[in-house]
């Protein structure tokens, strides 16, 4: 079905010169990001710098005003107004981008097991038995196998977020998109979620990771991008970017959060 067969060595994801404005407000002013297979790209920046918008433009939850999105070598086809031209294509591409939200967004009327099997069964057409089997493995992996039949509202934030990660893993994503996955958590629950994400990074998952956890970003990222008012102010390998920032703004930003 993919119309542009993916070249073997294509980057997992390329965002090319993305622009986004909401009315007069220009939130992204030409941002390009590329992640090869296994890359963990951490995106940092102050509040309102456009981090969430960048992530949401990646899977067209927001329609980019201009720019291109290429996943596994397949470019999202868009109309003149920037909206996806082919509904089936964008749905297929979305299903390859496992998104994890700041506020979990689990489906509250479904158990954890049902949350994890929902997309494989009802979007990807996997058989229910196979999906359940796989879901149990994933829940086990995030330490929630014994909660498989529990509804999300009965779980802590950390447990819900781990379940949301299992849900994203269930689609066998090419790229995982994390939007501040620990920002809504009580401090004592942050560690358990970061541990899961670190495991995923270690096993070579490709990720775009928006985070305020600088120490964590430094440890897991292969590249760090600092966004400032909708532009990439500085980017580079984490060690260099954190210990020897060049931009004045990044220096200030790093100081302000320590």
């Amino acid at each position: 079905m993919p119309s542009d067969p993916a070249p073997e060595d294509a980057p997992a994801i390329q965002l090319i010169d993305l622009h986004k404005h909401f009315g007069e407000l220009e939130v992204l002013k030409g941002v390009s990001v590329e992640a090869r297979k296994g890359d963990v790209v951490a995106i940092i920046g102050g509040s309102g710098s456009g981090k969430s918008t960048l992530l949401r433009c990646t899977n067209f939850l927001e329609t980019p005003s201009a720019g291109r999105v290429v996943v596994d070598g397949e470019e999202v086809r868009v109309r003149a107004d920037g909206s996806p031209a082919d509904r089936r294509q964008i749905e297929r591409i979305r299903s390859r981008l496992g998104m994890v939200f700041q506020s979990f967004n689990l489906w509250t009327h479904r158990t954890l097991l049902e949350n994890v099997t929902e997309v494989p069964v009802h979007v990807l057409g996997v058989s229910r038995d196979k999906a359940s089997e796989q879901a149990l493995v994933l829940l086990d992996r995030v330490g929630l196998r014994d909660k498989a039949d529990t509804y999300p509202a009965y779980l802590s934030g950390g447990q819900q977020q781990r379940a949301a990660i299992a849900r994203a893993l269930a689609v066998e994503p090419s790229v995982m998109l994390f939007d501040e996955p620990t920002s809504a958590l009580d401090p004592e629950l942050v560690g358990e979620v970061l541990r899961v994400i670190r495991d995923l990074a270690d096993e070579g998952r490709t990720m775009l990771l928006v985070t305020h956890e600088m120490k964590f970003a430094r440890e897991v990222a292969s590249e760090v991008i600092y966004l400032y008012e909708g532009r990439i102010e500085e980017k580079g390998p984490p060690d260099q970017l954190f210990s020897d920032p060049r931009s004045e703004r990044l220096k200030q930003f790093l100081q302000s959060i320590h």
Binding site: E91, R94, T108, E118, V119, A153, V171
Partner: protein, 250 residues
């Protein structure tokens, strides 16, 4: 002495209500069945109209939204009795005109079908508002998550929005169902032999007004109580996963 009169009165009443002639019990039950058929059909039709109406109001274009606003406003503003008269006479008239224009004679319109149609349109207006409110109460994050995973629109409606809104919609829908059962009584005015009309006929033939209207009242009450139990179950199921405010079990 008083007790004796009472007892004889009771046995008279039982005789009048007996299911086999000369008792009128089977007429009352037939009326009840008709009432329930109409209520059920109208409620179902109302749900379908309501679902489309709610989605139309929330996501439709300006023309759709205006038309729906007129529909819900007019229906909810005009007394039901008047609406029933209008819809019934206008509806049957239109159908007859159409059938005559096409060269057929007058058509006999089944009372049950006409009743469902008339009450269904009324129910649809209220259901539109109930469901619109319920859809709006669904946390947007849940819909966004489904979109982010590439769920197609119809699947999303069926798998996420509708199940998630059911908990919010059930109390309002339970009310609508009870209104539907009782609105069937208004159809007596256009001559449907639903429960109220059957009761009136039995009462006026026998002059036992008190007995028959009390019996009819009891039947309506039983329907209401039974519905309460059923909707209680539905609500409990629809609210699965939401801890109750009183706390406790899952």
């Amino acid at each position: 002495m008083v007790l004796l009169i009472d007892l004889s009165g009771l046995s008279d009443a039982l005789e009048l209500l007996s299911l086999s002639p000369p008792g009128w019990g089977s007429n009352l039950l037939r009326g009840l069945v008709h009432s329930l058929q109409i209520a059920f059909g109208a409620f179902g039709m109302g749900l379908v109209i309501g679902l489309f109406g709610a989605y139309g109001k929330l996501y439709g274009g300006p023309i759709t939204r205006d038309l729906l606003a007129i529909y819900t406003t007019v229906i909810r503003a005009v007394p039901e009795l008047v609406l029933i008269l209008i819809l019934y006479y206008v509806g049957t008239d239109l159908i007859n005109k159409a059938s005559q224009a096409m060269g057929y004679g007058r058509v006999e319109i089944s009372g049950v079908i006409a009743g469902i149609w008339v009450l269904g349109i009324v129910q649809g207006a209220y259901a539109t508002e109930v469901l619109r409110g319920a859809i709006k109460a669904v946390p947007p994050g849940q819909i966004e998550a489904a979109r982010a995973f590439g769920m197609p629109t119809l699947t999303l409606m069926r798998r996420v929005t509708i199940p998630a809104m059911m908990g919010f919609a059930t109390p309002g829908l339970a009310n609508l169902w009870l209104i539907a059962t009782k609105d069937t009584a208004l159809l007596a005015i256009v001559g449907f032999n639903e429960l109220t009309l059957e009761t009136r006929q039995a009462a006026s033939s026998t002059r036992a007004y008190f007995t028959f209207f009390l019996a009819a009242g009891a039947l309506y009450l039983i329907v209401t109580l039974g519905s309460g139990v059923v909707f209680g179950r539905i609500e409990k199921w629809a609210r699965r996963g939401q801890p109750s405010l009183r706390g406790g079990g899952r």
